[in-house]
């Protein structure tokens, strides 16, 4: 089996990893390691296929019951290590997740809670002052992206085949909206948030950077250097900004496309106190 995108980029970005990597191991669905990045050290975390996972519906690179809690552990372990540090280490979520795990056992056992544990860990790390960066190198789908990446201070994506952010897989969305896959593409060109193209997603103001011209499947030294430079710039930017997600409404794109989101905040503030 070929290595997943998440594994490829995890390996590329942690080739100089410290002992942490052996400690966290190469078993199971989560990879976590500290590795040098610029003049600091960052925690890199990704989800990989886990063919032997004891939950049969969670053997792919998806967020299932164990994945959610293990993600939370990897993030919280970095928070604990920096509890007394004045400068908190950056945390990079390498995002390559097809979906949450769909299954009867998953629902019974509370996959929503496991995914929420991932959300909580990343949000809490951000609030504690860790620059949290999501690096999208594959699909970033729906609840899986919420659990692993969407709480980041800054989101960076490669612009390459196989990379998309969306609330629902294309085939399933076509079924539910009773359109053909081609019809869905046409709709996405008219209605921006419906699009499966990263160029359209970039216009929503949610992305810090879309990096074009990278070999996503077999990154060379130059590719890795470029991505590392982007990560370093995003970390610097995050350290200068607020710890909440308000930066997502600041760009020129956001002011245009998310005008309604901004208007809601404005009126909520105006009407908050009784006149």
């Amino acid at each position: 089996m070929n290595a997943s995108r998440g594994q490829i980029w995890f390996d590329a970005l942690t080739s100089n990893a410290s002992n942490e990597r052996t400690a966290s191991g190469n078993e199971g669905p989560i990879r976590s390691a500290d590795a040098p990045l610029g003049d600091t050290s960052a925690r890199f975390i990704t989800i990989v296929p886990d063919p032997h996972n004891r939950f049969a519906r969670a053997t792919d690179n998806v967020v299932g019951l164990e994945q959610g809690w293990l993600l939370a552990r990897a993030v919280r372990n970095a928070m604990d290590a920096d509890r007394d540090a004045s400068v908190k280490r950056p945390i990079v979520a390498i995002v390559d997740v097809k979906s949450q795990a769909y299954g009867r056992r998953e629902e019974l056992l509370g996959v929503h809670l496991a995914c929420a544990a991932g959300v909580d860990a990343y949000a809490s790390a951000r609030l504690a002052g860790h620059p949290v960066i999501a690096l999208i190198v594959g699909p970033a789908m729906s609840g899986a992206f919420l659990a692993h990446g969407y709480q980041a201070n800054r989101i960076i994506a490669l612009d390459a085949d196989g990379i998309a952010v969306h609330a629902m897989g294309k085939e399933a969305a076509a079924r539910v909206t009773r359109r053909s896959v081609e019809g869905l593409d046409e709709l996405g060109d008219r209605v921006l948030p419906m699009s499966y193209k990263m160029s359209a997603y970039a216009k929503l103001g949610l992305l810090h950077e879309l990096i074009a011209g990278i070999n996503a499947d077999a990154p060379g030294h130059e590719d890795i250097d470029r991505v590392q430079s982007s990560l370093i710039a995003a970390i610097d930017d995050a350290r200068k900004g607020p710890r909440d997600l308000s930066s997502r409404l600041q760009s020129a794109d956001a002011k245009r496309i998310r005008a309604a989101s901004i208007e809601v905040r404005k009126r909520m503030a105006e009407q908050w106190d009784a006149s």
């Binding site: 019974l108 509370g110 729906s142 309604a260």
Partner: protein, 281 residues
């Protein structure tokens, strides 16, 4: 009271609209809606897909008092697009949570309640629905450092998709037995994993897995209530009384992994799980 009198005295919470629910929970005469229907902040994305908009986009934000203390309630309207979260309805909830955080930063207190009734992301607003759900989640995590964030899942829509994660982030959850709480709706599971994985028409099986009674029995929600407005209100007031816990459910990584480790995936069902997870929520 006799059984008959109790029965007659009940007032359904489920049958109320989002606006009526918020009004019924707040102290009498204190309901004040923010960004109400006359603000006409509608979805910018539905009309271009020939879907009729609603003037409040299916979310009601109300301030008032709860037991005499300042409160804010975010209520989702199940009758509009299945309670789905679009850019505007989601931004209203996120903005209310963000404003509540500011209250605490300014040294004031406010009690936040979210009334969940939602299938999750509104598919016609896909990526923006997902983005605002992330913002709602960020708001809950930021706010619950100061005050319990209380979630109520009334039914009959229940709470699904990304909003089930938002519910799980709440400090305490109150649920009726009619309501369901799950990440993937039964139809989605059947579609993605096949009817042999889950038959979405088997209502008894579905409620036995993700219905309020089961969720309360295995510690995934805190309080089970009857479909009665007074009971819901009492449960909400009670949920604030014990304050912010030392750790939230989503922070209890070791304990929850240990709970999972006790489960044998080849021999698990709702009844077995109740025995396995009883009393350690």
């Amino acid at each position: 009271m006799s059984g008959h009198e109790t029965f007659i005295a009940q007032h359904s919470f489920i049958e109320l609209t989002a606006r009526e629910r918020a009004r019924a929970l707040l102290d009498a005469g204190t309901f004040r809606e923010l960004i109400g229907p006359f603000d006409r902040l509608e979805s910018p994305w539905l009309a271009m897909q020939n879907v009729v908009c609603q003037a409040d986009d299916g979310a009601v934000i109300a301030r008032g008092t709860l037991g005499g203390e300042a409160a804010v309630i975010a209520a989702i309207e199940p009758a509009f697009q299945g309670g789905s979260i679009g850019e505007v309805s989601g931004a209203k909830i996120a903005a209310a949570l963000e404003m509540a955080v500011r209250e605490f930063e300014a040294g004031r207190k406010i009690l936040p309640v979210i009334l969940f009734e939602t299938g999750g992301v509104r598919l016609q607003e896909a990526n923006l629905g997902l983005a605002v759900i992330a913002e709602i989640q960020a708001g809950i995590v930021a706010l619950r450092r100061y005050v319990p964030v209380i979630g109520v899942i009334g039914g009959m829509v229940g709470c699904f998709g990304g909003m089930s994660l938002a519910a799980a982030l709440c400090t305490r959850l109150i649920m009726t037995r009619q309501a369901r709480l799950g990440m993937n709706g039964p139809e989605v599971i059947e579609q993605e994993a096949g009817v042999e994985e889950l038959d979405s028409h088997d209502r008894r099986l579905i409620w036995s897995m993700i219905g309020g009674e089961q969720r309360a029995a295995v510690g995934l929600v805190d309080t089970l209530v009857e479909d009665d407005t007074d009971q819901v209100r009492d449960a909400v007031l009670g949920a604030f009384e014990s304050g912010v816990p030392a750790s939230h459910r989503t922070e209890q990584v070791d304990a929850q992994l240990e709970r999972l480790a006790r489960v044998d995936p080849s021999a698990i069902d709702p009844v077995v799980l109740r025995t396995l997870w009883q009393g350690d929520a």
